[in-house]
Symmetry: C2
């Protein structure tokens, strides 16, 4: 460390040449808001200084803008269906040098072993991936996730160097009600001196005071300027989200002021390869900021310095002596076209192309996660006592459902007889982590499926198997096919797999590229409509992925049965 520091000082003082210099830059200074012409000198992965420097390698920026590497304040890598190494390849060419990732999907499946894998894989990409330790595994106490992470299980990982803090505290009712198990987790993070991410949609007033009083530092769930203001007032950083599913950025920018902007950051939350490949990443957030009239330096600060301050990343977020040599060259401050990206002093991306060779980390520890026991179509038998049932009604364009009372036809054994004229089919959740044999069935209205079946192993947050189909046999075949491919998405019709996207890493991530994921999802969407007849108004995959999440209204299905989110209790399938 001393020899490195000595060399850095020697370069900064001009006594020895830099490793690399980038000449002819317009450097955006996030501390002063000024833009000045100059040469940036790198040494041992850090910035030695800005000034008149010589380097062993010299690069001519040709007058381009030099800005600090971008920091995504909150993202779930698993939601991109690719591995850490691959998310690096996808994001870095857009100027991203650091992401604050919450691996709570894989930890719900694999426990701390999933975190270990994500941390090891992160070492194989130039993107600096910092992790938050997932706080809510499982999301609710009555869930059948692959793992349970209580306060005791957090004591070791929270202290790890690559762990920035505690991940989004989704159980906000637990916090507001001061539940012991939640407070114990919060205290572990506070004792470690590490920040805690929040997740507190729709809460305000004294309940929000209660949540904020614990020191939970951020929220990325604001969807109105009023919510944003209430959180900023209470000292919470607001992470303005622009993901594949949720687009809050334009709305929230209306609430941005010169006085509050230092507490505002940019994040993705979820960002699928399709969105990254076609719209970009934080470069896209920045384009939107400019389009909404935000000053460019203020916008850049939200993607750099502000995030670094919020998460205690003292070595980045600015182009200044001693900072990490994470530098992005931009053609302008309007379209934010990224020309070059240096991370830790290495040229890492050039005109959209990621330069390093990738050697992927071994995935064997997180494969084979789909474990079924005694599974057969028998699990879908319902033995109903009434022909009026509670159906999950799909509301197109989102992940909220409604609770509907529907009349169905039953055979003599109390089993459902599907009427092809009515858009009502069976949906089932099959536990897939520990071979418990748990499974539960319900009914789905408005999905539009007319043939075959579809099954997924990505089902927030416990990631059991969700299957929908026109018959028990098609559903059985879909589940078995999904198990054979170790999870992912499968479409079956008449006893054949007609399309599939295997996600063998924890049943959540592929070993293929982002481009492959994009193509597969496009094909799945196309065949879901053309072959299975699923309604064009419904997103066939995402609709199922959120069908099990018992914290989003109104009616959901878990491996333990039908869950009424409004009453926060399990209810029978039969309507009362």
């Amino acid at each position: 460390m001393k020899e490195k520091l000595k060399k850095l000082i020697d370069v900064a003082a001009g006594r020895i040449p830099a490793d690399v210099v980038i000449k002819n830059c317009r450097i955006v200074n996030v501390f002063t808001g000024e833009i000045s012409d100059g040469t940036i000198a790198f040494c041992e992965g850090h910035i030695a200084g800005i000034g008149d420097y010589e380097g062993q390698k010299e690069f001519d920026a040709e007058g381009r803008y030099a800005v600090p590497g971008f920091i995504d304040s909150h993202i779930h890598i698993e939601s991109s269906y690719v591995r850490p190494e691959e998310i690096g390849r996808l994001l870095v060419p857009h100027g991203t040098s650091t992401i604050v990732a919450d691996p709570h999907e894989i930890v719900n499946v694999c426990g701390i072993k999933g975190l270990d894998y994500m941390m090891e894989a992160a070492k194989r990409t130039a993107l600096d991936i910092k992790y938050m330790l997932p706080s809510c595994v499982p999301a609710a106490p009555f869930e059948d996730a692959g793992a349970v992470i209580g306060a005791a299980e957090m004591e070791e990982p929270i202290l790890r160097e690559g762990i920035l803090g505690l991940g989004e505290f989704m159980n906000f009712p637990g916090v507001i009600n001061a539940a012991d198990s939640d407070l114990e987790k919060i205290i572990i993070a506070k004792k470690a001196g590490k920040p805690i991410d929040g997740h507190v949609p729709g809460i305000s007033g004294k309940e929000l005071n209660a949540y904020a009083s614990t020191g939970i530092l951020t929220d990325h769930e604001c969807s109105t300027v009023q919510e944003m203001k209430e959180r900023l007032e209470r000292g919470m950083y607001v992470l303005m989200r622009q993901g594949s599913a949720c687009h809050n950025l334009r709305t929230l920018l209306k609430g941005l002021t010169p006085e509050n902007s230092r507490r505002c950051l940019l994040c993705s939350d979820d960002r699928q390869p399709r969105t990254i490949l076609h719209e970009g990443h934080l470069d896209n957030h920045l384009r939107i900021c400019i389009d909404e009239g935000v000053d460019p330096v203020t916008a850049i600060r939200m993607a750099t310095l502000n995030a670094a301050e919020c998460y205690g990343l003292k070595d980045r977020g600015a182009i200044a002596p001693g900072y990490r040599a994470d530098v992005v060259l931009l053609d302008d401050l309007k379209d934010f076209h990224v020309s070059r990206v240096w991370i830790g002093g290495e040229l890492t991306a050039e005109e959209g192309r990621y330069l390093p060779e990738i050697e992927f980390y071994d995935t064997s520890s997180v494969k084979g996660s789909v474990v079924l026991k005694d599974f057969s179509a028998e699990k879908f038998k319902m033995h109903l006592k009434s022909n009026v049932i509670n159906a999950i009604g799909i509301l197109p364009g989102g992940v909220v459902t409604e609770k509907l009372a529907e009349k169905i036809e039953l055979d003599k054994n109390g089993e459902f007889v599907r009427n092809p004229e009515v858009d009502l089919v069976k949906v089932a959740v099959v536990e897939r982590h520990h071979g418990t044999g748990k499974a539960a069935c319900g009914f789905l209205k408005g999905y539009g499926i007319k043939k075959g079946a579809i099954a997924v192993s990505v089902a927030h947050d416990s990631h059991n198997i969700i299957v929908v189909g026109i018959s028990d046999e098609e559903m059985e075949f879909a589940v078995n096919s999904l198990a054979r491919q170790e999870g992912g998405i499968v479409l079956v019709k008449e006893g054949k797999v007609i399309e599939s996207m295997p996600l063998p890493i924890a049943g959540l991530m592929s070993e293929e590229s982002g481009e492959w994921v994009e193509k597969k999802l496009t094909d799945i969407h196309e065949k879901a409509a053309s072959e299975l007849g699923i309604s064009g108004e419904v997103e066939p995959v995402m609709t199922l992925c959120f069908m099990s999440l018992p914290v989003i209204p109104e009616l959901k299905l878990t491996a333990r049965g039908l869950f009424d989110v409004t009453s926060f209790s399990f209810i029978p399938v039969e309507h009362e």
Copy 2:
């Protein structure tokens, strides 16, 4: 911790009454820049929330402004000549709830034992005193301080809870030249993840890059807007100083912009009781800010949130749920008259009066610091070989001196024969820490002393005894008198002590009150002029206190002899 947090949440949620509420406030929100009416609820020393709350105790603010407790980013308590408990009594009524103190004066005298005392004493005041570990003890390698604190001696104290980081790194030439011993100290702070204060007057360009590249985070030595800008650009926080001796605030405020203000803080550095009692503390800084046209909320942020961010004090700097209940009520945002101060939820000051009873910490570990050996007037014999000597020329109004060649009369033994018509006298430095018997003599021109002698034990940064007098006998009597009173300041005339301020704590601090110190210093200044004839243009005490500091130009005297700061070497008294 869990029970406290649970109670805080319960109060915030409105389920149980607060400990204290302050009703009818205009609350300044440093996050949003807005001012809103409301009630602040306290619980267990923290803020539960702002809203409609009931409390077991209620206080009516009668529409006053509520702002976060002020944070002085850099102060040396010893420069106020009083103990930590007493500085608390003096500062808190001005709205100060936290100070970042560098105890490098006492550590130069007593070593880590001095730090221990300061930390224990700090527990006896409501003021929250955070310490920086002194980095440069002694200030230069050729000094005779009471202690030497190298990197090895820093390893334990840097990790202490009350130690925020590493104190001002004054040896900037060492840092810029990448000296091993300095880098080792820097690395110790970096490994501990703690900030390092800077001290880098007059340096710019690549040398400043070199200094900043180490991660040194602050500078409080800017005296021009240009210096301020250069430091801000490099990511250093600028601490705008308004002390008893140095007044940089008005100058630097000309460089403050909406874009850079978040990196600007307020500090005192040195603040004597006289200044505190007559002008105040950060309330005075804030008045100056307003007078210079700074927006009040921006000014308040520099005294609160910005300082908290800089020093990683995550629990303070704002009035928001979960923050420390450090709240100041102000009559207005122009004169900043402080009406009430709560610290950690306790009402601590009321209309200028500090409320808690003080129980002072035992001072015995840091007394008896003046240790002489074989001292007599013999030490002042000079055996000069030439009657042209290098004299230290006083430049009134500052601490910089000039090097003068002067002709003197010598007796047959080569000893100085004073000419009462010429303003040239002997000055001596006597080592007083380890009884080494070291002493050195030189000549002082322009001090104006006509009778007796004056001796001080406050002499930056090694704090040996400095004595000036018209004869060896008067000087000897002054030194012996000073030793008897265990340090401080003494004025003697014709073999009698005519005035004295004993500073028995490390020879630096009194056990008396700030008011006593003010009166004593006033009396000393008065008698220095009226009884000893010291020039009215010269500050009689401070001039001597800086006479030994071998980093301020041009000619200084240490216990090892005359030091030429320009050539950075010892020189003979005889002019060549």
